[in-house]
């Protein structure tokens, strides 16, 4: 068979066709992979959170989608709760002057001597993490911050994750969207990982 001479125009045409085929194939492959991959959402690893306050100030929502949650099974139900009371309180009562929380979003309820239960009022919590700092410093660390997915608008490029100084934000599978303390141990949960 006679060998066909390849001129410059044919060469460019072939190259362009090949490039287009590879691009379309790659795009189709990526689309298929994304379609098959499980949806992920943002979540805070409570063991990495440093309560910097940016969850309250940097969320795109007017009131942050990050809220304090309470792992009751870790709580000591203390009378003197470091997450509830301001330092230096004279009497341990629920008066506004005693609240550490800037929005009074924690409800203290007497259970039985000497136990008190602390409940977060979601509508008031702004996710500042002040109570988390108090609970972590003085108590068992049962109060911690989480992205609430019933409120979060799931920005692809989370405004808080971008500025989080401890890089505590991770993409987690949407089927297991929370990292509640007590339910998981840091670095031992194989189902989530930090995107590269």
């Amino acid at each position: 068979m006679a060998k066909k001479n390849l001129n410059r125009r044919d060469f460019l045409n072939d190259t362009m066709r090949l490039t287009a085929a590879v691009a379309i194939g790659g795009l189709a492959g990526l689309t298929l992979r994304n379609a098959k991959a499980e949806k992920t959402v943002w979540q805070i690893d409570p063991f990495e959170c440093t309560q910097c306050g940016r969850c309250a100030t940097d969320c795109v929502l007017p009131i942050s989608a990050v809220k304090c949650v309470h792992a009751y099974d870790l709580c000591g139900y203390c009378d003197l709760c470091g997450g509830y009371f301001k330092p230096g309180v004279i009497d341990l009562h629920t008066g506004a002057e005693n609240h550490l929380c800037p929005t009074a979003a924690i409800e203290r309820k007497f259970v039985e001597e000497p136990y008190f239960e602390y409940k977060i009022i979601d509508d008031l919590c702004i996710g500042c993490g002040k109570c988390v700092a108090g609970c972590t410093s003085f108590g068992n660390g049962s109060l911690h911050l989480q992205v609430r997915h019933d409120i979060c608008v799931d920005c692809n490029d989370c405004a808080i994750a971008k500025v989080c100084p401890s890089q505590a934000f991770h993409r987690v599978p949407a089927s297991r969207p929370y990292m509640i303390k007590g339910d998981f141990v840091a670095n031992e949960n194989p189902t989530w990982s930090n995107p590269a």
């Binding site: 910097c52 306050g53 940016r54 709580c75 203390c78 108090g134 003085f138 971008k162 100084p165």
Partner: protein, 316 residues
Amino acid sequence: MKHIKYFLILLALIIVAVIALNYINSKPKKAKQNPFEYNVDEFKNVDPALVHYSEVRQIRVKLEGKAGIASYNGNIYLAANSQVSVIATDGRLISRFNVKPDTRAIAINNEFIAVAYGKNFEVYKHSGELEFIAQPVSENSEFTSIAFWNHEIVVADAGTRRLYVFEKNEMVSEIEGISGTTTSHGFIVPSARFDLAVNAENELWVVNPGIHSLQQYTRRGALSTSWKKASLSIEGFSGCCNPAQIAMLPDGNIVTSEKNIPRIKVYSPNGELISVVAPPDVFGNNVEASEVATIGETIVALDTEQEVIRIFEKKE
């Protein structure tokens, strides 16, 4: 036309400037002042006039898992890594013998060495020969402390929130911390920190950590005296489980060791703060309480996070 061109260039410059400014400001290290900051550093500052001890020596130890420390005859007894090691205060290893893994606490008298594990304890002769193994009392047991009390042995069990008194290997009585008064509600133990100690007068002191109280009990389990100090300041104890560890000084004063904001202090038997042995800055970023023991007026602390035995002596 020329004006439009200038306007578009200006607009482009403004857009670039806004994007650049936003990029720079959103860098994590360019963090704004936290308007909600809760600075707990103020609780770490201690008036130097209160600190009557200084750290005179550190003995490096290798720890795998939990450990207990006690003293006898001027030496330190360390139960760790499936061994009991007898260490002089200058760091020399005097002797060592093997025990089971998972040692939690240790106590010594002139005849025996008692080593507590999670659910039972063993008693050895000073030569390292096993004397007896105690019967377990509950599947939920989490032994956290042990002491010789007259001719008996008392253990603190954080799992069942009780003290158990053993005569040899048999449990003969238990103390629930309920003395029939309206204010007494038993031991409140939110986590596995539940310590006890017997002083030179053979009086048993127990920490009731959930209410930041130190309580003294009779052999019949009656509360004979107690005091409590709940406060975020240096004078008291805070959090859910403090003081986490105690030891007795020869004069009856009580050495306390706290977790979270770790510090070691000395209180009188009626709860008056006498001195600070080690302020939080001694322990760096530690959060765990050091287990404490005393050799005369000297205070020995086992820092399990830094893997070091710290020795504190009273300042001149």
